[in-house]
Symmetry: C2
Subunit: 394 residues, 2 copies
């Protein structure tokens, strides 16, 4: 038996383990210090009452023989696919229910979708980048090239027609930079993909943070995207499902090449290698789209948005260049005093007892930048901003 030798080429990420070690060492040296964590990408508010009620009700159905649910459709129950279809329809995007596949989260599908593509494709990812896009392709042995995101383009790289790519990753609003593409900018990417015969894997996991229609909440707002783009979305950030696990993927029927259909291939992949999302979780997700669920999850998003506003306001006051915050839970800023990412991490931890995420952990272009997250407590976020202001206003 031969192992997949590509695994030898996957780099181990020490980003979060290094952060944990540095924080532990600091705490050991200064046990009385109150360390504030603004580095996490996880939500902190509990599930909405409408969602919890739906879980309890579904548990009740599972307890009775007459209403018990066994194997469900691998692509998800109609009640949830229809609810997602309605969510798109509100924004003027027309997708049919059989183009929507319910999943256990965007991360799983972003990895598993690669099953559909030949190893002989060139993959274009932005730098800095969510590491999963890179690692999943290294595991499959694909060639990876990078699109430079930097201060010059506001961390929103645009297509370069001199570059040939087959599989293009776009995440907007972006993790880690918080930068969001406008519909007009995405149209340029769709036109480029169309010209190159490429497919776009569009990660919309943070779309719920967008409040200005100029920014794209779906790539299907760009003309022709249904011919080239697969969209991944999630209840994780929209409704606090990071530990409850539900998302969806839109695979348009129009994506066809050489007699093969992406939609049919994905259906075949999922029916063969997946057995659907738990019934109780699908009921929980459907509750997000009820009037009560919408109001309750919107209130949670408003809480995180207010945190983001606090962070962005502090950086503005300090005159520090940044992206994100307005339409994203992440704020990505240039380290002051020309510091490197890790140098600034140590500075912030040692002098303000605030933990963030060094941009260098997301790629070469992240060096000299730093990420803060709006998913923490309001009080902690406010206190962290006061400390940062005191530290950096000097």
């Amino acid at each position: 038996m031969l192992f997949n030798a590509n695994y030898s080429n996957v780099n181990d990420s020490y980003l979060f383990s290094t952060i944990a070690k540095k924080v532990a060492a600091y705490r050991a040296a200064a046990p009385d210090a109150k360390v504030l964590r603004l580095g996490i990408g996880d939500v902190t508010l509990p599930l909405a009452p409408a969602v919890v009620d739906a879980i309890r009700a579904a548990a009740g159905e599972m307890a009775e023989k007459a209403t018990f649910r066994g194997y469900g459709p691998e692509q998800g129950y109609d009640f949830l696919r229809e609810a997602v279809r309605g969510y798109y329809s509100e924004r003027g995007v027309s997708v049919s229910a059989d183009e929507i596949f319910i999943s256990d989260g965007a991360k799983s599908d972003l990895g598993n979708i690669l099953d559909l593509f030949s190893q002989n494709n060139t993959v274009l990812v932005p730098d800095p980048v969510y590491p999963v896009y890179v690692d999943t392709n290294v595991m499959a042995g694909r060639r990876i090239i990078y699109a430079d995101a930097n201060e010059g383009n506001g961390f929103l790289p645009m297509p370069d027609y001199s570059v040939d790519a087959d599989i293009i990753y776009i995440c907007s609003p972006n993790n880690p930079t918080g930068a969001a593409y406008t519909v007009a900018q995405l149209q340029e990417w769709v036109d480029y993909a169309d010209k190159k015969g490429a497919v776009i894997l569009y990660d919309a996991a943070y779309e719920c943070f967008i409040r200005d229609e100029k920014f794209a909440r779906s790539i299907y707002l760009a003309k022709g995207a249904e011919n080239c783009a697969i969209e991944f979305c999630s209840f994780s950030k929209m409704a606090g499902f990071t530990g409850t696990r539900c998302g969806w993927t839109v695979v348009p029927r129009a994506i066809e090449r050489g007699g093969l259909s992406a939609n049919k291939m994905w259906l075949r992949r999922q029916t063969t290698k997946f057995n659907g999302v738990p019934y109780i979780v699908q009921r929980a997700a459907a509750a997000v789209f009820t009037p009560e669920g919408r109001a309750q999850t919107e209130a949670n998003l408003a809480y995180y948005r207010e945190n983001a506003k606090l962070i962005a306001g502090t950086l503005e006051k300090l005159g520090i260049w940044f992206t994100g915050g307005g339409h994203s839970p992440y704020i990505w800023f240039k380290c002051p005093f020309g510091m490197g990412s890790w140098e600034f991490f140590d500075h912030l931890l040692g002098n303000a007892q605030v933990v963030g995420t060094p941009g260098a952990g997301f790629g070469a272009n992240g060096e000299g930048f730093f990420r803060l997250s709006a998913f923490g407590d309001r009080e902690d976020t406010a206190e962290a901003m006061e400390r940062i202001e005191r530290l950096l206003a000097k």
Copy 2:
């Protein structure tokens, strides 16, 4: 962009859709007939009360900020990994918690595990076979060879040293044949794998039906299996989780080749392409191992076993050759009168209004055989057996 052309080689299965069409046609022609379904591989009894209570309690935790759970460890929470470790320990099998990976079901992991292996491996599967083993490898472009299971070997093929294989699938108790290997027989497969440097993918999804210690409830009861075997198991049949989705995979640390470790590769795969099983589902699964959960799920298994006994008893009385039933929810029998699988399907539906599964749907060696399932209602099963006895005793 190039699609994965191997998808063109995946055969569509029309087994269950053909059955559905035939049943619908029969019902249209004979609307008053009471059709009894003994074809399904899904459970029908509801979740145990201890499991339902655990779901409700976990929902309560998710409703409060202090006890809310976001992202969990991709490989599963310690409380569940420890419970699974204890389950093995009861049978004298020693696996450590970091060799146990909690999954959303055996089907997902049986497909996804193939990420770890080179395309240049030869795969050995039994015929007849659970179609997922074949389809997942066709999708990856691997060479597949078959081990003949037939009446002569009791549908339990043994190793043939003249055959070279790299990846070996074993499912015991078997789907579709219900046949179960003894520990001594599995030892022969482990010795063969060791000699060939192969890996065994051991599907133990039906181990909970075994009541005689002569039969293997885990491949790790065979000496040296920890050097070559990965075991997949599931709460689906054990506790009715087909719609609740939880299972586990054991990847021993001892499986190493050329500097790569299967355990480390799988951890890397799962942390990159998976985000863990929902917290509420892991709590539900852990409840299966509590004293109440054990007693309640055992009562459900006893119900299915009694159905299996009814079916097996009827076939014995009729003098029909069969496998399974004693340590399996499936009974696999030789079609009477020398009939073909589909011929017998039509005969049984038309004359006894009983639906089963034609063996030919599981591979060439299934022709002339037929599968009945013990997962139905007691009353329906009993009535179906009376009808079959009347029909075939003529």
